[in-house]
C-alpha cells in the first residue's frame, strides 16, 4: 500500500474557497468579497430587490437583507457503464445485479476510468465556459456509510477537470425578466454511492437496506459561485443546468429520477455588510419550484432570527426541505466539519487532455440554450416565445427545421406555442412522437399565407396531421376545397342576391361590408372556398354592377 506523504487540507472541497467564512462567522473574507464584486459588476445593475413569488413579507425582508446563494449540482451521466468498471449503468434494474468486484470495493480490484466520462466532463466544462485543466487527478474522499462500499468516494479534490466558468440565464418575465450571469467555480468528476433505503419488511429490527446498482455510476459535480440572490434566480440557474445537460446529451437531467440533484447553500446579511452571514445547506429538493420555495422560507427564517437579535441561533448545518410542511427542518446537528482526509487516489493515473482533443470536442458542441435564445431574439421573436422555444432541445430542433424550410418565423412560433403545445400536453406526448413533420407544418403555414386555405381550415388540417400524419396537399384534396372560380362565383352571386340591403350599403360607401359578404360565402360553402379567389371575385362583383 503506498504511503503518500501529503498534508491535505482538512475541510471538504466545497469549503476550500470559503474555509475562512465557516470557521469564524464574523471574519471578513476579503478574497471572496472581491470575487463577488467582480461577478456582480458584469450583471445588469439592479435598481430594486430581486422579485419573488409576490410575497410581500419577503419583499419587506429583502429591503433590509441580502441573500447570498450558491448551488452544488450533481449530474448523473447517461453513459452505458459505470465510472470505474464496466458494469451497466441503467436505471431501474433489479437491485444488486449491476455489481462487480470493482464497484463493490472487494480486495484487489482496481478502478479504470471510462473515456466517456472524460468526454462528458470536457463537454460540460466547455459549455459552462470554464478553463479546462489539461492535467487533473482523482482523490479519495474518505468516510464510512452503508451505501459506500469502499469506505471512500473517488472524486477530484484540488485539481478538478474544469473551473472558472459562467452561465448566462434569462429570468422569466413573470419574475421581472432580465439577463443574469452566474459564475461557476468548478466542475469535477466523481462516482455515485449506492442507495440506502428503509426496509418495509415490518420487522422492528431497526434495519435498513442497500442497493449497490448505483454505486460507481459517474457523476459530474458543478459548484456555482455564490452569485444568486433569490429563490427565483436559483431556480433559473437550476433550470439552465438541466437545459444544458440535456442539450449536450450528457444526462437526462431528471430531478425526480435523481439524475439531477441540487443542494443549496444560503446565508443572509444586512444590506451593506461586506461579511457573509452563516451558511446553511438545504438538501432534499426534488423540483426547481421546491428549491425556490425552500430558499424563500429560509430567507424568512433567518431574517426573523436576525430581527429578534438571535442571529447566533443560525448555525452552520444541513437542513432538509419538508415538502409536506413547506419548511426546512434541521437534520441532526454534528459538531465541527466533516473530515474527509483527502489524498490522491493511488490507483488511478493522471487525467491528461491534449489541446487537439479539447478543440475537437469544442467543435462538436451543439448550439447551446443561450446562443439559441439570442439567435431567436435576433429573428424578431418576443422573449416569451424565445424562452418557450429554447427550453426543450427537441422543440427547438423542430422549430429550426420548420423555419429552415422557409416558413414564416412568427407563424411557426405561434403554431408551436399554442395549438401544438396544447395537443402535446393533452395527449402527454413529446414533440418527437408527433406525426406532423416539420416539412408539413411549413407547407401548412405557406398554404395559409398564400391564401390557398383559410386559417380555420388550417387548424382543422393541423389537428388531423398531428394525430394521423399525412400531407397538407392530401388534406386539401380530401377536404374537397373549392378552387374553381366558376363555382365560387356562383356562391358569391347567390349571397349577393340574398342580401340586397347590405349591397346597397356597400355601394353607398360602407366598403367594410366586404367582410360580411366574404363570411356569408364561406358559410354557404361550408368553409371550402379558396379565400384568395373568393376575395378577388367578390370585390369584382361588388364593384362591378351599376
Amino acid at each position: 500500500m503506498s504511503t503518500t506523504l501529503f498534508r491535505t487540507i482538512q475541510p471538504n472541497h466545497f469549503t476550500l474557497l470559503t474555509t475562512a467564512l465557516l470557521r469564524t462567522r464574523t471574519k471578513t473574507s476579503r478574497h471572496i468579497s472581491v470575487r463577488c464584486q467582480t461577478s456582480t459588476t458584469t450583471q445588469q445593475p439592479r435598481t430594486s430587490a430581486p422579485k419573488n413569488h409576490g410575497s410581500n413579507k419577503l419583499d419587506e425582508i429583502l429591503k433590509d437583507y441580502e441573500a447570498v446563494i450558491g448551488i452544488e449540482t450533481h449530474v448523473q451521466l447517461s453513459t452505458s457503464t459505470k465510472a470505474f468498471c464496466s458494469c451497466p449503468n441503467s436505471y431501474g434494474s433489479h437491485p444488486n445485479t449491476s455489481i462487480c468486484p470493482v464497484c463493490m470495493g472487494l480486495p484487489g480490484a482496481l478502478p479504470v476510468l471510462s473515456s466517456k466520462v472524460v468526454d462528458f466532463g470536457v463537454r460540460l466544462g466547455l459549455a459552462l465556459n470554464c478553463s479546462l485543466s489539461l492535467k487533473s487527478k482523482f482523490d479519495r474522499k474518505q468516510y464510512f456509510y452503508p451505501d459506500l462500499p469502499k469506505g471512500y468516494q473517488i472524486s477530484q479534490f484540488d485539481v478538478p477537470i474544469a473551473s472558472g466558468g459562467y452561465v448566462d440565464v434569462d429570468i422569466p418575465l413573470e419574475f421581472g425578466g432580465g439577463h443574469r450571469r452566474f459564475g461557476i467555480t468548478r466542475v469535477h468528476m466523481e462516482e455515485d454511492a449506492g442507495k440506502l433505503l428503509h426496509s418495509d419488511a415490518g420487522d422492528y429490527s431497526q434495519a435498513m437496506i442497500v442497493d449497490l446498482n448505483r454505486a460507481g455510476v459517474p457523476l459530474l459535480e458543478i459548484v456555482s459561485e455564490p452569485d444568486m440572490r433569490s429563490g427565483v434566480e436559483a431556480a433559473e440557474y437550476g433550470s439552465e443546468m438541466q437545459r444544458i445537460v440535456r442539450y449536450l446529451g450528457v444526462s437526462n437531467g431528471n430531478m425526480q429520477e435523481g439524475s439531477l440533484r441540487c443542494d443549496v447553500n444560503i446565508s443572509i446579511r444586512p444590506i451593506g455588510q461586506a461579511e457573509f452571514g452563516t451558511k446553511v445547506e438545504i438538501k432534499n429538493l426534488n423540483a426547481f419550484s421546491a428549491m425556490s420555495r425552500a430558499i424563500d422560507y429560509e430567507i424568512t427564517r433567518q431574517a426573523l432570527l436576525y430581527n429578534q437579535g438571535q442571529a447566533d441561533k443560525i448555525v452552520t448545518e444541513t437542513r432538509l426541505w419538508d415538502e409536506g410542511a413547506q419548511k426546512t427542518v434541521t437534520m441532526r446537528k454534528k459538531e465541527g466539519l466533516a473530515d474527509y482526509r483527502y489524498f490522491p487516489e493511488p490507483d488511478l493515473p493522471e487525467v491528461i487532455l491534449t489541446q487537439e482533443y479539447v478543440d475537437s470536442i469544442r467543435a462538436s458542441l451543439p448550439e447551446l440554450p443561450e446562443a439559441k435564445r439570442r439567435r431567436y431574439e435576433a429573428m424578431g421573436l418576443g422573449i416569451q416565445d424565445v424562452l418557450f422555444l429554447a427550453n426543450d432541445v427537441s422543440v427547438a430542433e423542430y422549430f429550426d427545421e420548420v423555419i429552415g424550410k422557409g416558413a414564416d418565423v412568427k407563424s411557426a412560433a405561434n403554431w408551436l406555442m399554442s395549438d401544438i403545445a396544447a395537443y402535446l400536453k393533452n395527449e402527454e406526448l413529446s414533440i418527437s412522437d408527433v406525426k406532423l413533420t416539420p416539412h408539413e407544418l411549413a407547407e401548412l403555414i405557406a398554404a395559409i399565407k398564400d391564401e390557398t386555405i383559410s386559417g380555420k381550415i388550417g387548424k382543422q388540417i393541423l389537428f388531423e396531421l398531428l394525430a394521423k400524419g399525412g400531407t397538407v396537399q392530401g388534406m386539401i384534396k380530401e377536404k374537397d376545397l373549392i378552387t374553381d372560380p366558376v363555382e365560387i362565383e356562383k356562391v358569391i352571386m347567390k349571397v349577393i342576391s340574398e342580401s340586397p340591403k347590405q349591397l346597397e350599403q356597400y355601394r353607398s360607401g360602407k366598403t367594410k361590408l366586404q367582410g360580411f359578404f366574404a363570411g356569408q360565402v364561406m358559410k354557404m360553402s361550408k368553409g371550402k372556398a379558396n379565400p384568395a379567389l373568393l376575395n378577388k371575385i367578390l370585390l369584382e362583383k361588388l364593384n362591378a354592377k351599376e
Partner: protein, 145 residues
C-alpha cells in the same frame, strides 16, 4: 495496521487556513500556478520538531479502529517516530522545483464505454453475510460521519 494508522495520521493533520488568492482562473496555466502556490504552502513548512503530536484517539475514531488506553499510548509514540522520520524530507529545499501532481509519467489508460456483466455476481452476493435475497441489510444509520 501500522501503515493504515499512518495514513490516517498523515491525512488528518491539524487544520490550516489556506490563503486563496483571488486568481482569475482564466487559463489552465494560471490555475496550475495557483496549485503551485497551494502546494508550496504545504511543502515549505514548519520544521519537523514543531510538528503536532498525533491525536491518536481521534485518529482511531476516524479510522473506526478501537484502541485501549495503553494501546493509544504505545501507538502514539510509534506514530510520532514515523512522522519525525518522514519529517526529515522537509529539510530538502524544493523551492525551485515545479510540484508534480503525481509521481508517474504516463497518463491515460482509459476504458471504452461498453457494458459487461460480471459473471460471478452470485458469489459476491453469497459472500455477504447480511444479504437478504434482494438487498444488503445494514444497521440503521442516524447520521453521516
Amino acid at each position: 495496521m501500522a501503515t493504515r494508522a499512518l495514513l490516517a495520521v498523515v491525512t488528518a493533520s491539524p487544520p490550516r487556513m489556506i490563503q486563496i488568492k483571488a486568481s482569475t482562473f482564466s487559463s489552465s496555466l494560471k490555475f496550475q500556478r495557483h496549485i503551485t502556490t497551494l502546494a508550496r504552502s504545504f511543502s515549505s513548512d514548519t520544521n519537523p520538531s514543531v510538528l503536532q503530536p498525533p491525536d491518536v484517539s481521534r485518529l482511531a475514531e476516524t479510522a473506526r479502529i478501537s484502541l485501549t488506553p495503553s494501546e493509544i499510548e504505545e501507538c502514539g509514540a510509534k506514530i510520532r517516530q514515523v512522522i519525525d522520520w518522514f519529517g526529515q524530507l522537509q529539510q530538502v529545499d524544493v523551492s525551485s522545483v515545479e510540484p508534480a501532481i503525481r509521481a508517474e509519467m504516463e497518463g491515460g489508460n482509459l476504458r471504452e464505454d461498453a457494458p459487461e456483466t460480471f459473471e460471478n455476481r452470485e458469489s459476491i452476493r453469497a459472500s455477504i453475510p447480511s444479504f437478504d435475497e434482494v438487498y444488503l441489510k445494514v444497521p440503521k444509520v442516524l447520521n453521516k460521519e
